[in-house]
Amino acid sequence: MAIPDPQSIKWPADRAILLVHGVGNAKPGDYDPLIAQLAQILAGQQQKYAIYMYYYDYMNEWFSQKLQAPLAATKLVNALHAKLDATSLGNTIASFVGDVIWPVMSLDARDAIRTGLLRQLRQVLLDASAAGVPMPQRKISIICHSLGCFHVFEALHTAASDPAQQLGPSQGLTLENVIFMASPVQLIRSVAGAIRAAVPNADALACLAPTLAMPASDDGFGATLPSTRRTVSITGNLDPVGGYVFRAKQDWAYMNLPGQVSAIDQEEPFDMRESDLQSILQQALQTGAPPKITPQNPHDWSAYVARHANDLKQWLP
């Protein structure tokens, strides 16, 4: 099997968004509904966006199979699935634990996934160039979710600190927005920090740096250029991956970067209107069956996007 090419899109105008997904067995196309949802939200904007999605789960699969993860990580994940399968959130947490092992504990997995992400980001720039968009007019944003936030955070630090990547702010790439949704960066920082001695090349992980901050680089003439003009962190008050457990913020797990725009969504485990509830109860009375109420997944990416549709319109003009 050949390495998948990075996604290439013909830019319709001067702006683009790169979406980076989180945990799960995502194959190309799986996030098409989310792309459609975002495109619909931004349909009324002055300029159209090229919307990219970076898929990388095939690499998680390489390492999982190579290291015969059924013997370790997958057993752990399956055990968690069994304990937590009452809600789809349980599945999310279980998958999260499995997927986070590779980039933290394996130098090869860390490098491969980061290389793939930077390669996709470079393709965005190559597409901009092919479309003839001058560098000062390009507007590129990243929206990431869950573990994708960790990959973006680490990759942008690499891009800013290593000119060989050709993606540093001083080389012309300053992102308009980096929008983190349910970011586990602080959570990983806490957990990996606690087992730092076991983490290979821990000093190279930006999330374990003395200060947790978005990357920036010297422009070569004394000014500091940030990687992004705006950093947004959104999480829900029922989303443990984003640092909240039962509406309580956990400082060891909630990502709080200097200068970030923060939003905490007030989530409901059963997010429904009174009329919906009435309808469910009436149906239960008619059929004699217990009312079927499905809990909302507070980690759901699509729900984050839907709740922040107006914000996205403002941040992505």
Binding site: L71, R119, P136, A164, Q171, P200
Partner: protein, 329 residues
């Protein structure tokens, strides 16, 4: 606006290229080629200098202006100015291959392959890049003339990105060779040993800028190898048990094996070699460490394994990596 910029860029870089084609390049002028194959570093600098003059760059940003001047001198002195931007980008972003170097003037090779070129490219990008560099000044002051002054530099920037992109794809291909679905699986002992070896700084097991290390430590218990009986009275072959310790070397350089089983046999993605200890009797799932064990060696040619025991009770053994109990050893 964007389409206009694009067509203007092509026109400008083509005109610059026509004006600056080196004599050696004119012989190939009849073959159509993209403009970036003809734009030289000198033409990039001249266009930037013209743009800088048009926006009075020296007075609004003296520091960058001075660096732009000094870069022009540096490129001239290193005789890198007449490199095409494609060759310059290749030299500045990665170690160029032998064939790339052979295409250049021999007397220039030593100078243009020096690491300083990467620094020069970065400095040029810092002078040019938005939000503080010359590109923004030109774009703000004269957007209609942006391509005229900045088009060649943008083409150089794109070439640099494309060169790194190629390296990244190669790096991921190497990861696929070592970790992809066709690669040998590691047992828990090998996983731990390789994890530990990657952490020893002076050992070549950790990944580097080119990708994964080609080396992998092998420490497995083979249960599915076979040896001829020799007497042929009951069964022509016996399963044997062995412990194998050695090194596996991944052949990242060979890209001919894609898919075809014969090609994979002729050009295996990995080799391995090391020492083996065999159980005292030719039988499966026996301890190779018990009394009467026999010593030997093994060689892997891809997934094909050939091994032998030494001494008077010698055996020739073949295997394919198949295990009686998968995922354990």
């Amino acid at each position: 606006m964007i389409a206009r910029f694009r067509s203007a860029t092509l026109a400008v870089v083509a005109s610059i290229a026509v004006a600056r084609i080196a004599p050696a390049q004119t012989t190939a002028a009849s073959a159509p080629s993209p403009p970036s194959s003809k734009i030289t570093v000198d033409s990039v600098l001249r266009a930037l200098h013209a743009g800088a003059a048009a926006v009075s760059f020296a007075s609004v940003d003296a520091a960058r202006s001075r660096v732009l001047d000094s870069l022009a001198v540096a490129f001239r002195e290193s005789r890198a100015g007449d490199l095409t931007i494609r060759d310059f980008a290749a030299a500045a972003t990665a170690t160029p291959g032998y064939f790339t170097i052979f295409r250049w003037d021999r007397d220039r090779v030593e100078r243009v392959t020096q690491p300083a070129l990467a620094g020069a490219l970065l400095r040029l990008q810092q002078v040019f890049a938005p939000p503080n560099g010359l590109s923004r000044r030109i774009n703000d002051a004269m957007p209609a003339s942006y391509a005229l002054y900045a088009g060649a530099m943008e083409a150089l920037n794109t070439q640099a990105i494309a060169a790194v992109q190629q390296s990244s794809t190669e790096k991921l291909r190497r990861y696929e060779v070592k970790f992809g679905e066709a690669s040998p699986r590691l047992n828990p002992v090998e996983t731990l040993l390789n994890y530990g070896l990657e952490r020893v700084p002076w050992l070549p097991f950790a990944p580097n800028a080119s990708g994964p290390s080609p080396l992998e430590f092998v420490a497995n218990y083979a249960t599915g190898d076979i040896t001829p009986d020799g007497k042929f009275n009951e069964s022509p072959v016996h399963l044997v048990s062995s412990d194998n310790v050695g090194l596996r070397f991944y052949n990242f350089g060979d890209t001919t094996r894609a898919g075809n089983p014969i090609a994979r046999l002729l050009h295996p993605p990995f080799w391995a070699a090391g020492v083996s200890s065999f159980a005292a009797v030719d039988a499966p799932l026996r301890s190779p460490f018990g009394a009467g064990r026999r010593w030997g060696a093994f060689i892997n040619w891809g997934s094909l394994k050939v091994a032998g025991t030494f001494g008077h009770d010698w055996r020739a053994i073949v295997g394919t990596g198949a295990q009686l109990i998968p995922h354990l050893f």
